[in-house]
Symmetry: C2
Subunit: 403 residues, 2 copies
C-alpha cells in the first residue's frame, strides 16, 4: 500500500463535471489499494471573484481580511469534492488548512509554511478515509487564517507529502507533463519521463510555468517524489526526483521567458565599487536582477547591462534615475523587447560542446545574441523578443532531432 498525495488546481475542479472527473481519479487511486490525500485549490474564477468583491468595498483591504475571504474558496471546493467522492461510494473527509495542521508564519497573503502537524490527517487515513485538504492556506501562531501566495496549493501538497512521508506527490494540471519545449511553439516537443529537481527549478523560473519553484524547492529539500500529470488525460506524466541515471541526457529542455527587460547603465565612472553601488541599490528595492554584463569603454568609463522582470523595469528606471548624481553615469536605456531563451540539463556541465551547439543553432537561424549567462545546468541567452519562437524551434531542433 502506497500513500499518494494528489493536488488539483482550480481549473480541474471548476464545475460539477470536472469535480466528478477528479473524484474518479481519486477513487480509482484509492481502490487500487493506496491511501490518498487530496489537496485542492479554489474553483475556477472564485479567487478572482472574491478579489473583485473586495475591491468594490475597499481599495486597499487589509491582508488579514483578504486571507479570511480567499480561504473560503478552498473550503467550498474541498467540501464539494468530498461530497462528490461520497457519491462514488468512498468515504471522504475535508479539512481546512488549520484542521490539517498547516502552521505558517504571520505574513498574511504570502505566508510561509513553518510546520505541518499531520496527526489529524494520519488518523483519518487510518480510519480508511480519503482526506481532502484545502490548499493555499494555513494558520499562524495567533490562530489567524493565512494564505500562501503564488504556488500555494502546490506547496501545501508537497508539505503534506513530506510530513506524512508520502510515496508520491502528484500535481494534476492542464498539461500532461514537462516537455523539451513549449508544445505550442515546438509541435514535436517530447514529454520527459523524468527530470531532476534542479532541472525543474531552472525550467520553472525560465517560464515553463508547470510547477511553482517554491514547491520544487521544498520537494528537493525533503526529497519528495513529484509527478506532473494531466487531470484531463490518463497518460503517465513527468516524474521530478533526485536522479542518478539521468546524466545520459545532456539537455532536458528549452525554455523561453518573454517577461524580461534589459537595462543599460551607460558610461559609469570606471572606479572600484561602482557595480556594487548599482546592485546594492537595486537589492534595497527588492528588484530581482538576472543576467549581468559589464563592458569597459574608452576614457575610464564602463557600461553595466542587466535584465530584470518586465514589471520591474519602470521601477528600476526610477530608482536609478533618482541616483544619477550619486552613481555618476551618463545615460540609461531600458528595452522590454527582449526575451531569454535557455537550455537546461543536468548533464551539461560535463559536456563542453553544449554551449557551442546552442550558439551554432542560433547563428544558423540568423539570431543575434545580446547577453549570455551560464550555470552548472543551464545556458541562457538574451535575444530580441521577435526572434524568440524561432530561437526555441532552432535550438530544440538542434538538440532533439539530431540525437
Amino acid at each position: 500500500m502506497s500513500l499518494i498525495v494528489q493536488k488539483f488546481g482550480g481549473s480541474s475542479v471548476a464545475n460539477a463535471e470536472r469535480l466528478l472527473n477528479v473524484a474518479r481519479i481519486v477513487t480509482d487511486t484509492y481502490r487500487a489499494g493506496n491511501e490518498v490525500v487530496v489537496v485542492v485549490s479554489a474553483q475556477g474564477d472564485t479567487t478572482d471573484d472574491f478579489i473583485a468583491k473586495a475591491a468594490e468595498l475597499n481599495a486597499r483591504p487589509s491582508k488579514r481580511e483578504m486571507d479570511v475571504l480567499l480561504s473560503a474558496g478552498e473550503q467550498i471546493s474541498m467540501s464539494l469534492l468530498a461530497m462528490t467522492i461520497q457519491t462514488l461510494g468512498c468515504t471522504a473527509i475535508s479539512l481546512t488548512g488549520w484542521q490539517a495542521g498547516i502552521q505558517t508564519d504571520i505574513n498574511y497573503s504570502e505566508a510561509r509554511i513553518r510546520k505541518v502537524k499531520p496527526e489529524r490527517v494520519r488518523s483519518e487515513l487510518d480510519r480508511g478515509r480519503i482526506v481532502i485538504i484545502a490548499g493555499f492556506q494555513g494558520i499562524n501562531k495567533q490562530d489567524d487564517i493565512t494564505t500562501l501566495g503564488r504556488g500555494g496549493s502546490d506547496t501545501t501538497a508537497v508539505a503534506i507529502a513530506a510530513s506524512l512521508g508520502a510515496d508520491l506527490c502528484q500535481i494534476y494540471t492542464d498539461v500532461d507533463g514537462v516537455y523539451t519545449a513549449d508544445p505550442r511553439i515546438v509541435p514535436n516537443a517530447r514529454k520527459l519521463t523524468e527530470i531532476t529537481y534542479d532541472e525543474m527549478l531552472e525550467l520553472a523560473s525560465l517560464g515553463a510555468q508547470v510547477l511553482h519553484n517554491r514547491s520544487v524547492e521544498m520537494a528537493k529539500k525533503y526529497n519528495v517524489d513529484l509527478e506532473v500529470v494531466s487531470s484531463f488525460t490518463r497518460n503517465p506524466g513527468t516524474k521530478v526526483k533526485e536522479g542518478s541515471d539521468m546524466e545520459k541526457m545532456n539537455v532536458s529542455g528549452v525554455a523561453r521567458d518573454n517577461n524580461c527587460a534589459r537595462i543599460a547603465v551607460i558610461n559609469l565612472p570606471d572606479e572600484p565599487g561602482v557595480a556594487f553601488k548599482v546592485f546594492s541599490l537595486l537589492a534595497k528595492h527588492k528588484i530581482n536582477v538576472d543576467i549581468i554584463l559589464q563592458s569597459v569603454g574608452k576614457n575610464r568609463v564602463k557600461t553595466i547591462s542587466f535584465t530584470v522582470p518586465q514589471d520591474s523595469a519602470e521601477e528600476t528606471r526610477e530608482v536609478l534615475a533618482n541616483a544619477k548624481g550619486q552613481l555618476g553615469f551618463e545615460d540609461l536605456s531600458v528595452n522590454t523587447e527582449v526575451a531569454k531563451v535557455s537550455i537546461v540539463g543536468a548533464g551539461m556541465a560535463s559536456n563542453s560542446g553544449v554551449a557551442a551547439k546552442m550558439f551554432e543553432a542560433l547563428a544558423m537561424a540568423g539570431i543575434n545574441i545580446r547577453m549570455i549567462s551560464t550555470s552548472e545546468i543551464k545556458i541562457s541567452v538574451l535575444i530580441n523578443e521577435e526572434d524568440s519562437e524561432k530561437a526555441v524551434k532552432a535550438i530544440h531542433n538542434k538538440f532533439f532531432s539530431e540525437e
Copy 2:
C-alpha cells in the same frame, strides 16, 4: 461605555451598498463610545446557492461536509464587512465561529451551542477593535465545523452577548420592531416599545417571524436584553426583556399561523390510555402536536383532534394509518385549510375578560371557532384559513382601538 452586540441577517449584507449601510450603523455605534461586536449571516442567497451546488453533486450530501460548505458563507460576509468598516476609518477584525470560541455539540447541521470561550473576542475589544463574528457556526470537540440550523445567527448573537455580559443585543432585521399585529394585515398595527421574553416566545412560535425562539429562550435564560430593530431605518425598535411594569398591557399582540393542519382520529374505543397511545406514537416520530381536543361520542367511542405543523400532516396521516389496527379507530381526517390566531400578553392571566373579548370579536365578525387553547399568556383559536385575515383585523380592532 456600553458593550453592544449587533446582529445583521443575510438581506442586510446582501451587496456592497447594504454592507456600507451596515458598516455605518456599526461605526456610528462605536464612535458613540461603545464597544461593538457584530454577528453576521451569509450574504443574501449564498446559502441557497451552496445548497444548489451541493445538490448537483450529491442528492444526500453528508451533514458534516454541508456544514463545511455553508460555513464558508459567513466567512465571506464577515471579511467583506470588516473591509468595509476599515474604509470608514475604524479598525475591525473578523473571526470565524471557532476563532470566536463558539463550542457546540457534535450534531452537524443543527448543532447546539455548549459553551462560548470569549477570551479572543474580549482581547480584540480591549485593543479598541470592532469584532465581527460569523453567525450560525461553531466548532465541536472533534475540531470540526458545525452549523446551528434555523435561527442560528440570532442564537450566536445572544450567546456572545451572554458570554461577554453585553449591555444590549440588537437584532437588525427587515422590520423595525414587534407589532401588535402583522402590519401587512392590520395597517394600523402599533409598534411595541417593550415586550417580555415570554410574550416574544409566544409571538414567535405563533408565526410572527421576527426572532427565532431559540435565541429568545437563550436571552431569557441568561437575561440578555434584546432589541429588534431595522437596518433600513434608524427608528427605535422593540426591546425584549424581563419586565415588571408591563402588566398594565393586557394584550401585547395578535399573531396568525397559517402553517398548521387539523387531524381528527375518529371513533377511537373509549378506553383508558387510548390518548396516550396516539400521542406517544406521534412523539416517537418527533411530530409536534399543538392544540388537542377530545370529544366523547355515543357507543363508547371518542374522537381526538389535534393540530400539527402543515408539513408534518402527511407523515402524521401515514403514521396513524399504519397503526389503525393497534389503535382501533374508524376513520382519519386531515384538514390543512385551517389557521391559528392567537393573542399574547403577560397581563392576560390576571384579567378574566380577555378570552370573552376575543371570542366576542370573532363572533361579531361571523367567524366560527373550531378549537381553543389557552396558557398563562396566550389564547389561541383554530379557525378556517380563509377567515384568518378577517379574524386578526377584528381582534386587533377590539383590543387596540377600544383601549
